[in-house]
Symmetry: C2
Subunit: 446 residues, 2 copies
């Protein structure tokens, strides 16, 4: 052991000499949840929010690659050497499946965008980082986000030292009056509200969606208060009943205020790590010139990951091409599975906690997506989670983990994405026993 | 057109309201070089530093995937469902080919590391970002880097608003006395020199390498001055003569001061976008606990890209496995090609600019890698580059682009990585004509 070396090194590398994001409670909270799950591997998990694994097939991968290569040759007119180069070499920073993503947005979401305004990213997480990095110039820049909200947004904000201000959700979506209050409060402090982040369809963790009128009002608020909207849409395609969902904010947006964040993690598969951002805003330069906001994001990306792995893009591109660029078509089986699971979960809750009973248990009824939020008459905290995992063999997620501060203390999130019908039934039985136990009542099983 | 909306938006999104990195000259400089190359597509390029494309084969990709799946099953004991999940699902933040990379470092570089200290990243660029993000806590943290140096390091530093201080190179490598001067100057300003970044083997852009004695002295300086060393090694395997290269700093490091940055872009292929960082330092926490620095980098990665695409890792992993985890073995043909090209370039320069002539042209003789630096008796600037591209059909890189400030004004970088022997000969003929023209002499062709 080299005394001086090791001791000096230990002095240099100590947590308080590293970036503050590493001491963020959000990180500790994710670690805690993963750690509980790993300590109770036999527990039934109504916590895991990853997509279904039922339809993954390793044999698909070479076929997707081939389909994409054929597209490069047939549609883009590349010879064999340039096809090879496209997959193997460094490439376009904004990506190589931008045209396919533009087709996808047109056919599945009614969103028409110039493919040049799309930046393909390493998951949606990188897209969030790029946008927040671009917008955060100094400590006065603030991003607003729905609470309860997606921890990834908060994490990206931490990495660029950007303040996050919460906006309340209520039973029917987002409290837009609170949004206005928060915008005004931020301005009153001499700060700049730059953007409002939300998942308008079947949000994680709440499952909530924004009504059409609220979408229109939100766009008007953004215009009036000079705010960008960051619309994240990972779950939109998984509606329980086709045709019930209002258009995306991006499709409704008259003035180009919406930056659209996309993820193929749920609609293609997470292991491709393909996300994207549509940033078709114009950015005014110093000398009367202007450029696409996407090109600024691309510059940042060139300093961060250079470009999204072309081989991963090719695999996602092949899957898109195989289904005429419709992810609705590509996800016929998944949409059916998630809808069925959501229905079974809601019916199962109805049977165990009948309306009008004295159980003091309530829940929302999302129109799609992976998640349902249950309100219980006790603290649904980390201790309750561990207690239930240990005594009843069931896992769920305390909603308090989705608040950057206080909130959700007596709520829990249930997820239906990676469970079978039998597991839903058994999981709800166990959950009902836990709820009865902690409420001091007897459980009503189905 | 919505007047209020569009006008307010234009006011909000203007370059001066976006992060300062977007106004960085380094970015403009890369754009300029790419733009010149695209304006003269017929010019012979001694500028492009990407790896050779000669051995890329699309048919390799499915085989690599299969080999990696077989490894998961046979060596890691995963059943078919878990193999599928490993490739398709979200996964371990630190990556899934860490054990293969550790084997590779052991067999190719004599570096022994715990696989847990490796974080697999989206190219080496993300690895640089993770390390600088961790180290930059406030405006007093400074990173030192060799000048001329790799623009990616400066780019990553810009994204975290970290000051970069240059350290001079001289003919035999790095000016370590200047390093000490710079460390002391930084401290004298009340700032903290946190790390020194360098490429000790066949650097980009200079081709220079650090002698063994200088490596040992550098490690001693780092220990004395409480500094981390960020060792980047993308070209080390491409030595012109096997066995000539001193050990890496990481292999020589007695006290764990070296954070090792790896890239498979040149040794596997760029389109996989696989890099990694070895961070086996211990970080002291608040309450007497400690953790691997790699685990802190992993936390930052979880907020940035979540994890490196498992499908891309699987492809790189398959290539590693196919060659017993030796990238020297995997690159037999490439090593031969780059060595031959480097030799041809140096011989070609010798013939055109004989020693003792009055041409005032000199160059270094790197022991490997992709790059040679030529000193000329005129300003090798952007105007000279455009002039040469237009009049003589030859491209090269002005060395001034690799300085974050002044430097390299009469030097140019030549690259041998993507040219054939004939292109080297013809390119040097054209370059000799340009040099003669701008020196006011007659060219001596081969």
């Amino acid at each position: 052991m080299n005394d001086s070396g090791v001791e000096l090194l230990a002095a240099d590398l100590s947590t308080d000499r590293l970036h503050a994001a590493l001491r963020d409670p959000a990180l500790a909270s994710m670690n805690f949840l993963n750690e509980v799950a790993s300590r109770f591997p036999e527990a039934l998990s109504l916590a895991a929010g990853r997509p279904s694994e039922e339809f993954f097939d390793v044999d698909d991968l070479p076929r997707y690659l081939q389909i994409f290569c054929d597209y490069l040759a047939a549609e883009k007119g590349l010879d064999a050497e340039r096809v090879r180069r496209t997959l193997f070499q460094y490439g376009r920073t904004k990506g190589i499946i931008h045209e396919l993503l533009a087709r996808n947005l047109a056919c599945d979401e009614g969103i028409d965008v110039d493919p040049e305004s799309i930046v393909v990213t390493v998951g949606c997480q990188e897209a969030m980082f790029l946008v927040l990095r671009a917008l955060r110039t100094d400590e006065r820049d603030v991003v607003l986000t729905v609470a309860p909200g997606y921890v990834g947004l908060t994490g990206a904000a931490r990495l660029v030292d950007m303040s996050v201000r919460p906006v309340r959700e209520h039973a029917d979506g987002i409290d837009l009056d609170h949004l206005i209050e928060q915008i005004e409060a931020v301005r009153a402090e001499g700060k700049r509200p730059r953007a409002f982040y939300l998942v308008p369809d079947f949000a994680n963790p709440s499952g909530a969606s924004l009504e059409l009128e609220d979408r229109q009002r939100l766009l008007a608020i953004a215009a009036e208060h000079d705010l960008l909207i960051l619309e994240d849409n990972p779950y939109g395609l998984f509606q329980a009943e086709a045709g019930q969902r209002p258009p995306t904010l991006k499709a409704l947006d008259p003035s180009g205020r919406v930056v659209y964040l996309g993820s193929l993690s749920k609609t293609c598969f997470p292991g491709a790590r393909i996300g994207f951002v549509v940033a078709d805003q114009r950015v005014a330069g110093a000398n009367g010139e202007s450029n696409l906001f996407a090109d600024d994001l691309s510059k940042i990306k060139s300093m961060l990951t250079v470009n999204t792995p072309p081989v991963a893009q090719a695999i996602a591109g092949g899957k898109l091409l195989e289904h005429d660029c419709s992810l609705v078509k590509a996800n016929t089986r998944e949409i059916e599975l998630y809808s069925r699971n959501l229905r079974l979960l809601l019916e199962g809750m109805d049977r165990r906690f009948p309306r009008g009973g004295d159980h003091q248990v309530s829940w929302n009824t999302p129109g799609g997506g992976f998640f349902v939020v249950v309100t219980v008459p006790f603290a649904a905290d980390d201790a309750a989670l561990e207690y239930g995992a240990n005594k009843y063999g069931v896992l769920w997620t305390p909603m308090s983990h989705f608040y950057d501060g206080r909130g959700g203390e007596n709520q829990l999130r249930l997820s239906v994405s990676v469970v079978s019908p039998d597991e839903i039934e058994a999981g709800l039985d166990r959950l009902a026993m836990l709820i009865a136990d902690l409420s001091g009542k007897e459980a009503s099983t189905h």
